[in-house]
Symmetry: C2
Subunit: 382 residues, 2 copies
């Protein structure tokens, strides 16, 4: 068994032989790996569409009822397609995409590299989950090739910027959270509101061109260094499948302001693996993240910003305290100074294949395997 | 005549008495101001929808043909509704929203205030049009009230951040550019590609909470200080109506990299007025902007980021070199130190009404009036 038992039941969008895109649920049994065709099985129109959005918009009570129904359908069998016969597509029509920076170890590593003479963390870091908006239109499904971006780069000692392919192309291993239930303008989502609004999680690779980013990001933040591609897994794991994964966050000091819910801070015990050309080069532990998913959502909306179905927010790079737990090549190679892995990698080379794998505890089966996030680096466009 | 003659013909989305939203074009004649009901007049399905997106997706040749057709329909009369009888709606379903920082005078003013002991401009400013992604889901149509946002603020001398309503709520008078024709991933739009992709322009007010922004924006840029609301005008003026408005940009020094098209740099001679509670408090001139619309679009896509129909990119605050030409209250009050206007304003007060007005030269009528952007500040939610 591969972690897709009846305790998991993640949702995705599939097609068969160039046919229409529909919503399906993945599961396995002794006979193999299957995609349950939800429209064929239920006739519900929200499943006869090319994204999960219509289903997500129905809200948490429908998600719960449907999960029970899907489990019964899977137990009965029928209305399935072998996993090997389907093409998987981007599961969600992404509305707004927000990326956070919620790992203390990642932020500390980056700060030590970029500001060696100053404090590793900016003064605001421990007071609020720092985040920014990314480009929703370039979120792609796992398996989509990623073309090396070109842009302006200027090393500190260069007299002027130059234009060309990024020479410091990187990954960021993250976890993504998919919003189902919208919220109206002007009404913040409380720190207790995560399960009311967030349907589930995906793996996420926020591909990053460090040289482009370093030259552009002061004072308004990352832009072209990130906006060329963000990959997510084809399967969205419902929060309901992660009941056994919640753990206490590491301690927060100082105590956050009340809207960030001091004392109500749970993280997820999800293990991540970064595989580079078939070699596992890092194992970031999501349980070490400083800010919780509920805190990120409360912060995102505290100014009255509304949520839409399809909003996607991500954790930022997941890095643990150990060198073998870092979630980016920038950190794994310490800014390019310390090659890592079997063939001495620093940043991404053309042809590299990166696969992010995620797993979480489950009471019923012991372990769930979340949808992986894979991508191959294609050469820059000439 | 009020600047909506047959040389203008801007597009919007309207409804009558709670009926369905449809696409219309505004024009005036001796008898009054009208909205031409394009679905009633043409039967074309792309006009029987609640946004311009379906029409915008048809591309530049259809835009041109339709403009000729609309002019003939308006000359013939019929299929119209009096402007006073319609409700106007958000004209575009916004895909991704990007905000630039293209005014040299604005960037210099902000830099002088925020970094008094350093260079006013960051080293990258004259090499690339700095931009970042904003929140597409909180773009609203002119007339939508704006609730004062709450959030974390920390003045440099405060021992710790506090939570509460923004005390430095501001406007940013900008110009927005609406993308119609998408572009595929991996293929940059050349600096000559503006008219192939951009359908037209709107006025835009990027409401900003300066205290929230100041505390959050290092290192990843503005987030909650901006994401609560961005207002645009209900009318999108086609680029085709602005033929007489193109002027040479002020000189660019150093010469930009080739992808930013040195020597092919045209700006728009659009005059802006900022009206606060009925008093004109500033007149920013768009012709003084440093980076051109074509350069912003070329930069936005040079890393291979794709465009979608409905993408919106904005100029950033429009400020001219004179004190009476500044496009934000931050600058008009010099960080709150120099009250301005008849009643000594610094930042926005509850109940304030701000109207941004825009006009551009036209050979046929002398002057076009672009759609205005109005908003009233409502008190913070308690």
């Amino acid at each position: 068994m591969t972690g897709f038992g009846l305790d998991h039941l993640p949702y995705g969008v599939f097609s068969v032989s160039g046919g229409p895109r529909r919503v399906g649920v993945r599961y396995e049994d002794e006979a193999g790996d299957w995609v349950l065709d939800l429209f064929a099985a239920t006739g519900r129109p929200e499943f006869d569409t090319p994204s999960l959005n219509a289903f997500l918009a129905l809200g948490a009570e429908v998600w719960r009822q449907t999960r029970d129904e899907v489990r019964a359908l899977a137990e009965d069998g029928g209305h399935t397609v072998p996993l090997d016969d389907v093409t998987l597509h981007l599961p969600v029509e992404v509305a707004d995409y927000v990326d956070f920076y919620a790992s203390l170890d990642h932020a500390t590593n980056v700060g030590r590299m970029f500001r060696p003479d100053g404090d590793a963390l900016t003064p605001n870091w421990r007071h609020l989950p720092i985040g920014y908006h990314g480009r929703a239109g370039t979120v792609v499904v796992s398996g989509t090739p990623v073309t090396r971006p070109s842009g302006q780069r200027k090393a500190p000692d260069d007299p002027a910027p130059t234009f060309g392919p990024s020479q410091r192309l990187d990954i960021e291993a993250e976890l993504g959270f998919v919003v189902g239930t919208p919220s109206p303008p002007g009404v913040p989502v409380p720190v207790t509101g995560l399960a009311d609004h967030v349907f589930g999680v995906t793996g996420l690779n926020d591909w990053s061109a460090r040289d482009i980013q370093a030259w552009e990001y002061v004072p308004l933040g990352p832009f072209l260094g990130k906006s060329f591609a963000t990959s997510i897994s084809p399967w969205v794991t419902p929060l309901a499948a992660l009941d056994a994964a919640w753990v206490d966050l590491p301690a927060q000091d100082p105590e956050p302001l009340p809207y960030l819910g001091p004392g109500a801070t749970k993280g997820l015990d999800i293990d991540v693996e970064i595989e580079l050309n078939g070699e596992v080069v890092s194992r970031p532990p999501y349980r070490t993240m400083y800010w919780s998913p509920a805190q990120m959502l409360a912060h995102l909306t505290v100014n009255g910003a509304s949520l839409r179905t399809g909003d996607l927010f991500a954790s930022g790079t997941i890095s643990g305290p150990e060198p073998g737990q870092r979630g980016s090549f920038l950190e794994l190679s310490w800014g390019g100074a310390e090659p890592f892995g079997a063939d001495g990698h620093t940043f991404l080379r053309d042809g590299d294949v990166v696969v992010l794998r995620y797993s979480a505890p489950s009471v019923a089966s012991g372990r769930l395997t979340l949808g992986e996030v894979a991508g191959r680096v294609e050469p820059a466009r000439s």
